[in-house]
């Protein structure tokens, strides 16, 4: 009987640690997502409106490597059950400002692979680099069922966070999702 309180405590800790994974979207959606299945790939265009806040600019200007991580999930709805995740992908856009040369070193990675790099002094270009993506190939259509409906869900998180909360899980970030029907 004594072990039950300990088990309950452990269960609480596990749920605490797993909370970030199960965290539901906070706030309204602000990522506009447009998936486009074509040529064996699912291309996703997405834009994070208002992602580069003044705080983030200050972070960039401080010389910290700042990144936007977009976590994509290709999912299929299951009635009366948990939706099934078909595939996941991560797109990371990073920028680092050199206060000496006043230039931004930018890069984009898809699932850890460097896809593009750029150096600029233009802040607008930095904003664009971080928040606007056009036709990024994220998923293959080989795992998709023809004429089935899917949806792409994306969550964007900026790093590093300059805020702090006693609660360990991260409730910040923007969300977006879009549905599409796979027509081969």
């Amino acid at each position: 009987m004594r072990r039950i309180p300990l088990l309950l405590l452990l269960a609480g800790l596990v749920s605490l640690a797993a909370a970030p994974q199960a965290a539901q979207p906070a706030g309204t959606e602000s990522i506009r997502v447009m998936p486009l299945p074509r040529d064996g790939q699912v291309y996703v265009s997405f834009e994070l409106a208002g992602g580069v806040t003044e705080e983030l600019r200050e972070t960039i200007r401080s010389g910290l490597q700042t990144s936007f991580a977009y976590d994509f999930e290709l999912r299929r709805g299951v009635p009366l059950w948990v939706d099934r995740t078909i595939a996941i992908a991560t797109v990371v856009a990073t920028v680092q400002f050199d206060n000496l040369t006043r230039r931004h070193q930018m890069s984009r990675l898809i699932d850890g692979r460097v896809e593009d790099a750029l150096v600029t002094e233009n802040q607008a270009e930095v904003d664009h680099w971080l928040t606007k993506f056009d036709r990024v190939p994220l998923f293959r259509t080989t795992e998709l069922e023809p004429n089935a409906e899917y949806y792409v869900r994306v969550r964007a998180r900026a790093r590093p966070r300059s805020t702090w909360s006693l609660l360990p899980w991260d409730r910040t970030g923007a969300w977006g999702h879009a549905r599409f029907t796979f027509l081969p």
């Binding site: 401080s62 910290l64 206060n99 000496l100 600029t120 590093p160 702090w164 909360s165 360990p168």
Partner: protein, 767 residues
């Protein structure tokens, strides 16, 4: 007369077996964790190690990358905080609920423990919360003070200076590159002079005049498929250019520029210190296409570059700190909170532990004391510590052991007492039974003269109330005829020597009763007089028998002495009559009258002597089973037709069995009694002869009653004495003989009043 009890021991009732001593109760289980000092020490060491680790992490927090700090360290600290908070809430809630439940159940020491826990928790939590609040505020305030306007201004200005310088230098290099690029189109496309020498002539002065450290020129050609090829044409480097620079960086810059890339600048940090600033400018031909690229390189000395970098780094560090102020503050706050929570949890747990440790032994002692009060003397406690509480527990155990031993002894004593009591009770009942059953009367009085015992025989013999115990003896024995008995008792109570046995005659139920009485003093264990006991026996039958025996002896001697001279007297009288047969008629008549008188009286005397002889020497009865009814009928036939006014009424019990009697002797008894009854009724009246069977006493009862004048009470007892008669004639031995015959048959004969008048003789014979 001594009263002897039987020697046999009275039966001792059986007692249940003495209860077996209770086995010692098993010792209670120990709580392994709370009382295991090694575990507790290990826990403390673990905690200290965790604290040291956290302290190290906290000290190095500024050196961590922001991502690591926020995502890992801060996350771990937040998780730890929430865990510690949950643990604290859990510990508090669990113990508070437990305390509430214990108080509601009114468990022993629940209120004291609740107070102790409340005080300990208050002493722990209140200061901890205060420290937490104050400490958090201090951390926040300090963190705010790290960043101030002057510092902002200084670092920002320094950074601006450095970056402006870099910008200017970069611009200069860019301007040179562009200028050189404007000068080269003809040389790169012209065919009159070799291209390299022409180019050299253009770019060499730039290096010589130390405007630039190196100038590299690339030619751009288009391949068959339109692919650009950037080919180095010539580069001129200053001899002061430090070694270790990378040509590939210049080549990449040229390629980038040739392909129209926006970024036409590059910065290379040299291994030996210093930085190379490169700027590329396309060489536009006359057709407007890029025919070449000029890459100009300027050098920033090591010191300058280093200082600039330092200024910028300082600025960036400061700005990054500012940006991460919240997470850093959060890290410190989390760490502080975690420390505080750990202290609170530890202090709370330790406080609760010690509260329990203090109250638990007392609780156990209280519970054990209750159990011992309820009779469970086998309850023992195991001392859990070696301190004063342990001594208290051991003292309790020894007290319980002594109580158990005392109880055992008490039970043993009680058992022995019960056994003795039962023995005494048995003996008392035995004595009481004996006293109630014996024919001897026993009266005992205490030292105050109060009657303590009157047995049934005493009550019957003396005609006393058998429940007169507790009354003074002089009240109980107040009758005049009991004065001798009272006198006996008083003599003994006054402490005189025990008087000898006395014979006392009383009148009971109109009969004379002879008692042989003796009184003795009762002494206690200490020898003090505790009273007296009066013992008396009914010796009336003995007296009677002695009288009868005496009379019998007299009768025998009398018969013997008288009978002898009677015959000579009779013979002499007859001889005289024969002698004077021839005498004168007057003399003859006189002699005949006198001799007839003599002979008649001698015959009468002979009859009397015969009766005396019979009384003296009665033969032993020859008993045979006899039907009394047949015997009675035979006897009654002797009286048939003799007395016309007399009615003899036989009433026979049909259930009367055969009785072992000597028919002749019983017949004689019947004849005697019937003759007496006939005489009593003056030959006219009713004589009732009744038989009864008493199966409970196994007796055959024969009742002969007449309706004559009856027998006065004063004469009833003497009726059966020899030579006592109410008739004018007779020897007076008839009823004595009757009694003797009945006695020799083992029976009794009593005389009483008949209702409404007359006498009633009752003979009881054993069946």
């Amino acid at each position: 007369m001594a009263l002897r009890l039987r020697d046999a021991e009275p039966p001792t009732p059986s007692l249940p077996d003495l209860p077996a001593p209770w086995p010692a109760a098993a010792a209670p289980r120990r709580r392994p964790f709370r009382d295991n000092s090694r575990l507790i020490l290990s826990g403390i060491l673990l905690l200290v190690g965790a604290l040291a680790t956290l302290l190290t992490i906290a000290n190095r927090s500024a050196a961590y990358s922001p991502d690591f700090l926020v995502e890992v360290v801060l996350y771990a600290l937040s998780v730890a905080d929430v865990t510690m908070l949950a643990a604290l809430v859990f510990v508090l809630a669990r113990n508070i609920v437990k305390l509430i439940v214990e108080r509601r159940r009114a468990l022993p020491f629940a209120r004291f423990r609740a107070k102790l826990v409340a005080v300990l928790l208050g002493m722990t939590l209140i200061p901890s919360v205060l420290v937490l609040i104050v400490g958090s505020e201090v951390i926040r305030t300090s963190a705010d003070r790290w960043f101030n306007a002057p510092m902002d201004e200084v670092l920002s200005s320094a950074n601006r200076i450095a970056s402006d310088y870099y910008r200017d230098r970069q611009k200069l290099v860019t301007d040179h590159a562009q200028r050189i690029a404007r000068m080269l189109p003809a040389e790169l496309t012209g065919a009159s002079v070799p291209m390299t020498s022409r180019v050299r002539d253009v770019i060499a002065p730039e290096v010589t005049l130390e405007r630039l450290q190196m100038v590299a020129v690339y030619g751009v050609h288009r391949g068959a498929e339109g692919a650009l090829q950037v080919v180095p044409v010539i580069d001129v480097a200053s001899p002061n250019l430090p070694a270790g620079y990378s040509r590939a960086a210049a080549d990449r810059l040229a390629e980038r520029t040739a392909s129209g890339g926006a970024e036409q600048r590059a910065l290379e940090t040299l291994a030996g210190g210093g930085e190379l600033m490169r700027a590329a400018a396309p060489v536009i031909g006359s057709d407007g296409r890029t025919v070449g690229v000029v890459v100009a390189t300027g050098l920033l000395s090591g010191d300058l570059a280093e200082r600039s970098r330092r200024m910028t780094r300082a600025y960036e560090d400061y700005m990054q700190l500012r940006v991460l102020k919240q997470p850093l503050t959060g890290a410190y706050l989390s760490f502080f909170l975690m420390l505080t929570l750990m202290i609170m949890v530890g202090a709370t747990w330790i406080g609760l532990y010690f509260a329990k440790r203090i109250t638990r032994p007392v609780q156990m002692l209280s519970a054990a004391a209750r159990e011992i009060g309820a009779g469970h003397l086998d309850r023992r406690l195991e001392p859990e510590t070696a301190d004063e509480f342990g001594s208290l527990v051991e003292a309790f155990n020894s007290m319980a052991g002594e109580l158990a031993a005392s109880r055992q002894k008490l039970e043993q004593s009680t058992y022995d007492l019960q056994r003795k009591h039962l023995e005494v009770e048995g003996r008392r009942r035995y004595i009481e039974t004996v006293l109630e059953r014996i024919a001897t009367g026993v009266i005992s009085v205490d030292a105050a003269g109060l009657v303590t015992t009157i047995n049934a025989s005493a009550a019957r013999l003396l005609g006393l109330d058998p429940y007169a115990t507790g009354r003074p003896a002089h009240d109980v024995l107040a009758r005049r005829d009991l004065a001798p008995l009272l006198d006996l008792l008083h003599k003994v109570l006054r402490g005189r020597a025990e008087p000898p046995a006395q014979e006392i005659a009383l009148m009971r139920d109109d009969r004379e009763v002879h008692l042989a009485a003796v009184a003795s003093a009762l002494h206690g264990e200490s020898g003090a007089e505790e009273g007296a006991v009066l013992v008396f026996d009914d010796v009336t039958p003995l007296i009677r028998s002695q009288k009868v025996a005496a009379w019998r002896e007299v009768a025998r001697r009398l018969a013997h002495e008288i009978k002898n001279p009677l015959t000579p007297i009779q013979l002499s009288a007859e001889r005289l009559r024969r002698h004077f047969g021839a005498a004168a008629p007057a003399t003859q008549a006189l002699v005949a009258e006198c001799t007839s008188t003599i002979v008649a009286e001698v015959d009468s005397l002979k009859g009397l002597v015969d009766e005396f002889s019979q009384f003296a020497r009665m033969p032993a009865p020859r008993a045979v089973p006899t039907d009394l009814h047949v015997l009675l009928d035979d006897t009654l036939t002797l009286y048939n037709g003799l007395f016309s006014h007399l009615r003899i009424d036989p009433r026979y019990d049909p259930a009367l069995p055969l009785v072992r009697v000597d028919p002749d002797q019983i017949k004689r008894v019947l004849v005697n009694l019937i003759d007496n009854a006939i005489e009593a009724t003056s030959r006219s009246g009713t004589i009732t002869i009744e038989t009864q069977h008493d199966p409970s006493n196994n007796l055959a009862r024969l009742v002969l009653a007449d309706n004559g004048p009856g027998i006065p009470p004063a004469d009833r007892d003497k009726l059966f004495m020899p030579y006592y008669s109410t008739k004018k004639r007779g020897s007076g031995l008839g009823l004595a003989i009757v009694r003797r015959i009945v006695a020799e048959h083992g029976g009794t004969i009593e005389v009483g009043e008949n209702t409404p008048t007359g006498a009633r003789f009752t003979i009881e014979l054993p069946c």
